[in-house]
């Protein structure tokens, strides 16, 4: 859904559970904001018992003191029983704010939260903060980080990507979940927003073009399909290389033009990586 159409979304009135089936199954529970789920009529254990991460969204353009105090009570309640839950705070709608103001807001929220928690005797609660907006890629990036924390094999994946990068002259590699466009792993070199954005737009291109011309696929032959692969050459000598790993995942690499000259080598290395990945997920199961 494009961001402009979210205007037409209605207010959430009950808990919506969206199961997401991907390389890893998880369920997103969308809570109505006006609901007080700490109320004893709700089954506390049912809600938080199997929870991996709690995402708390704060409207940065609005008065945020009251929602913040609600967040604090929630964190305190959860910490008592389920200290393993990752707490992620999205400082949302920052598109309307200036850069300086954004950081100020985030710092203010962090400070208040920390003070409040230490006042209540929880000194080392891990809370992560993300500045997000639906009008750019920051929301995807934030979700990526949330999901990454929930993946037990993350270390292994990163390691595999590192090996792939160093052996094929790749500058940056992302492992993307195609449907949601969040990346579930990347190599250990620092992520810059630009490369993430271009990769995520690249997926859009691939998905859209495939949709237009994919009608020729014979459904009977679907078993024997080859994984899609694609290359985009840019004017500044960079090359984007995409390879479909399985139904849900795609590998996207950024590299220099010289590295792709031996494309056979890159293809082979990616193939090896793909096999390794498959085995990692098999072990996980």
């Amino acid at each position: 859904m494009p961001p402009t159409e979210t205007l037409f979304l209605e207010s959430t009135t009950r808990i919506q559970k969206d199961p997401i089936h991907s390389f890893m199954d998880f369920q997103v529970w969308d809570f109505p904001g006006q609901l007080n789920f700490l109320d004893p009529t709700f089954d506390f254990d049912h809600i938080f018992g199997e929870l991996g991460a709690l995402i708390w969204v704060i409207d940065a353009q609005d008065e945020y003191l009251e929602p913040l105090s609600k967040l604090h009570t929630t964190i305190i309640a959860i910490q008592r029983f389920y200290p393993a839950i990752n707490i992620e705070v999205f400082v949302h709608k920052v598109d309307g704010l200036s850069d300086e103001y954004k950081l100020d807001t985030q710092r203010d929220i962090m400070q208040r939260t920390q003070d409040e928690l230490s006042d209540n005797g929880f000194d080392n609660v891990q809370v992560s903060y993300h500045l997000t907006s639906i009008y750019d890629h920051s929301i995807f990036e934030a979700f990526s980080k949330v999901i990454q924390k929930l993946i037990p094999q993350l270390g292994t994946l990163e390691n595999l990507l590192n090996i792939l990068c160093s052996n094929s002259g790749i500058e940056k590699a992302f492992l993307f979940d195609v449907l949601s466009k969040i990346y579930i792993a990347t190599d250990s070199s620092p992520v810059d927003m630009q490369s993430y954005e271009i990769c995520s737009d690249y997926i859009d291109v691939i998905v859209d073009v495939s949709e237009i011309y994919g009608y020729l696929v014979d459904p009977l032959q679907e078993e024997a399909t080859v994984e899609a692969s694609s290359i985009i050459r840019l004017q500044n000598g960079m090359v984007l290389y995409l390879r479909e790993i399985n139904k849900y995942l795609a590998l996207i690499c950024l590299m220099r033009k010289d590295s792709i000259e031996k494309q056979g080598l890159v293809d082979f290395n990616v193939q090896v990586f793909q096999n390794a990945l498959q085995r990692v997920f098999e072990v996980g199961r």
Binding site: T4, Q194, Y202, V205, D208, V209, I212, Y213, L216, I231
Partner: protein, 349 residues
């Protein structure tokens, strides 16, 4: 001189204030993304812009500010100036306009002025901001509006498009408009056909380089594609991607995708065009197709050069006259400083 005028096509862009003329122009010709158009202010009077399209065709775009005061001015004092030698009039209607009847009156006066001054101009009406209408109602509303517009066009033939800057309908409309302006189109199309059959391609689409509007396409696939609007869709997709490339201070030159049912290649064809070739699965190695494109490139470049040379030749004839003048000027300067001074004097007058 006549020839150069023929190649510079005057395109009028009119419509009520705030109907989205400048936004549209910025997206199609200046690589804005839809949301960037919020920054645009009101157009004051007429903004001229020259758009080079396909190298040798220049569109002389007159973006006419639509506030009532300007409109009156166009129709009264500037009537001749504005409406003379027009090749194309693009009139934009805001679907949300509360005074449709008043818009129609202005529209009719413009059509009348156009009929008096350049009777051969083509007229396109864009019913704009269709994204604000619910999807189910769009078709019906558009048909209604079209019927009204046709009836108010003083019997002149018009073409209507429904558009929105938020989806690919914008490209459909503009590709349709530009298509009518390309001079050597039949020739281009035969060559494209031949290329498609030699390369054994399922579909070949030719795009203009800067705007990525569809110039021409050839479809050879026996099974009809379920997306009749795919050409505009691809324009839109690629343009979006070009936008994200520009964030990396770059532009993309080539694209290839090998999927289960097909392979697609987008590559630079000539300095002014991109080509998209879609091959059926397993028909050829990708290197073969890339080679075919490379071979075709020389041919199409020649075609493009030829058509622009023809223009230059005609231009050359009248520029040779100017050349002679210059020669005499040089000779004059040989004689002495006085000659140059004299010439300057003439220019000054």
């Amino acid at each position: 001189m006549e020839e150069r005028k023929g190649r510079k096509k005057k395109v009028l862009l009119m419509g009520k204030s705030g109907s989205g003329k400048s936004s549209m122009r910025s997206i199609v010709f200046s690589n804005y993304v839809a949301k960037d158009t919020r920054r645009l202010g009101a157009t004051i009077d007429v903004e001229h812009s020259h758009v080079r399209f396909l190298g040798n065709l220049t569109l002389n775009l007159w973006d006419c500010g639509g506030q009532d005061a300007f409109m009156e001015n166009y129709l009264a004092t500037q009537r001749d100036h504005i409406f003379r030698n027009v090749e194309v009039l693009i009139y934009v209607f805001d679907i949300e306009s509360r005074e449709f009847e008043r818009d129609l009156i202005t529209y009719s006066s413009c059509i009348e002025a156009l009929r008096d001054n350049s009777s051969n101009a083509r007229i396109f009406c864009l019913v704009h901001k269709m994204d604000l209408v619910q999807t189910e109602l769009r078709e019906r509303l558009f048909n209604e509006r079209r019927d009204v517009l046709v009836s108010r066009s003083l019997g002149l033939a018009i073409t209507c498009f429904q558009t929105s800057i938020w989806d690919e309908t914008l490209y459909k409309a503009w590709a349709g408009i530009v298509y009518t302006l390309i001079p050597n189109l039949p020739q281009l199309e035969t060559h494209l056909h031949r290329f498609a059959s030699i390369a054994d391609a399922e579909e070949v689409i030719l795009f203009e380089r800067t705007t990525f509007l569809v110039i021409s396409h050839v479809t050879r696939s026996p099974i009809p594609n379920p997306f009749p609007d795919r050409f505009e869709k691809i324009s839109n997709i690629v343009k979006q991607f070009k936008q994200s490339c520009s964030k990396m201070a770059s532009n993309f030159t080539a694209f290839e995708l090998r999927a289960a049912g097909f392979s697609a290649f987008i590559d630079v064809l000539t300095p002014n065009t991109y080509i998209l070739v879609v091959m059926p699965a397993g028909a050829a190695e990708s290197a073969t197709t890339l080679m075919n494109i490379a071979v075709a490139r020389k041919h199409f470049e020649k075609l493009e050069r030829d058509s622009s040379v023809r223009g230059v030749e005609k231009l050359g004839r009248d520029s040779s006259v100017r050349g002679a003048e210059k020669d005499s000027g040089v000779r004059g300067s040989e004689k002495g400083g006085g000659g140059v001074g004299e010439k300057d004097g003439i220019n000054g007058n």
